[in-house]
Amino acid sequence: MRWINARPSNGARLALTLAPFALVLIAYAMGSAARLADNANDKLLPGFAGFAEAINRLAFVADPRTGDYILWADTLASLLRLSAGLGISTLIALIIGLLIGMLPYVRSLLAPFVAAVSMVPPLALLPILFIVMGLGENSKIALIVIGTLPCMVRDLAMKVQELPREQIVKAQTLGGSTWQMMTHVILPQILPGLINAVRLQLGATWLFVIAAEAITAEGGLGYRVFLVRRYLAMDVILPYVIWITLLAFLIDLALRKLSARLFPWSVLKEG
């Protein structure tokens, strides 16, 4: 049989899925054990016991100085920044993207401008934001909005223009006004695309959150990672990285399920 036709059974598929994860874990355990055998105080590759101790200290024991549970406080701070930034950006992108995609006048006015702005590297603007808006939350949220907005606008405008021309003509023969077509034909059809655009921007958003927190913050996942870097505290950094990854994965999954639940027609296959 050709390889292109060979499919793994369910058991084999599960084993194959888990194999790379297991391999990384095993490689880490071996490296860690070797280093700890040389030097019991090694900080670069701590053992699993070291992780458990650090996670316990950060997640389940109140910080003696502030009384907070550090992991949860950091998570809340970062998620608030992430959702505020991404929420504002999504709302603006939806309105501007819809108008650019629908109305030739707005397209002529804004499409080239958005295309140009999307080429500006957002992190290079971070110093400007800090100077103009101060070091507080506003500048961090503004960074996320500036970083994700142009891409989402272009993505949505393209989604609108990808709708078959026939549909728009048909809607007009049904007497639809521009407003009625926007609210009943175009908007409902690009909402699944909007959720997809948010999913695609999640990675970039995390990048901006952590970059902003690394420079200045009072707390947050990125802040903590960069803070403990000074003490080579790999036992904190690695669990934080895994936790951030897990959060990103869960948000993505939730958005995907939400889209399928809200827009059942969007997951139907052409039949």
Binding site: A171, L174, G175, H184
Partner: protein, 280 residues
Amino acid sequence: MVEIVIDKVWKEYGDTVILENVSLTLKDHEFLSIVGPSGVGKTTMLRMLLSQEVPTRGQILIDGEPIAGEPTDDRGVVFQRYSVFPHKTVLGNVMLGPQWRGSAFLGMLFGDRRKALRDRAIALLERVGLKDAINKYPQQLSGGMQQRLAIAQALIMQPKVLLLDEPFGALDPVTRKSMHVLIRELWNERQMTIVMVTHDMGEAFELGTRVIAIDKHRKDPHAPERFGAGIISDFEAKPRIVRDSARFELSRATVTPPAPISLIKRSSPWRPNRCTSPGS
């Protein structure tokens, strides 16, 4: 009564002439089929009737009034594909137009008006054979059912003319036959005017009461874009007088019950004698 007049219409894109000097008068309750080779301008002609495109010169009139410069609800359309909205159910698709007409801002009707519209939509869906699918989404339907839905969605607006752009081109032959029956029945029931573009000659003559062929009158081998297409043949496939007399016969047959055979025999002096039994 609907009369469509195409008055010396030209369509050009820059130096390329697509249609040149097309004139046509279409009376009420005609079924016009437009045939012609691919890429010659059949669909352009339909799009101009729809105002999806505007003639470069000349004008199109319906009932003596020039048509609007953009698609409006006096002209319904069914395309080969993408004629229905994938995010609305079958019933939602049919109820959309009247809801827009009745409610400018929300685009939704409530209460008794909604109930009345719903009943009307369901009756129409039953007529086109989609009663069991009213809560399905278009992508759960077969190609033929999607086209039935597109027709119902257009007809509920009671347009003056229904425009069909190769509506059955993507369907298998059996489905296509049943669609032919449906569209001919609807055309008769509603006494409406239909303009259909097709590349299927058989279909054009089976459905059309009038068939026009579009092609280039002249060709310049060095500059093929120099001359546009026009009507090269205009054929009355089902002459109005024949249709009218057929309808008259039909109505007479249904109004006066047929007389008993024996009665005809006796009271028909012009019938040959051999019809009656030799003994009488």
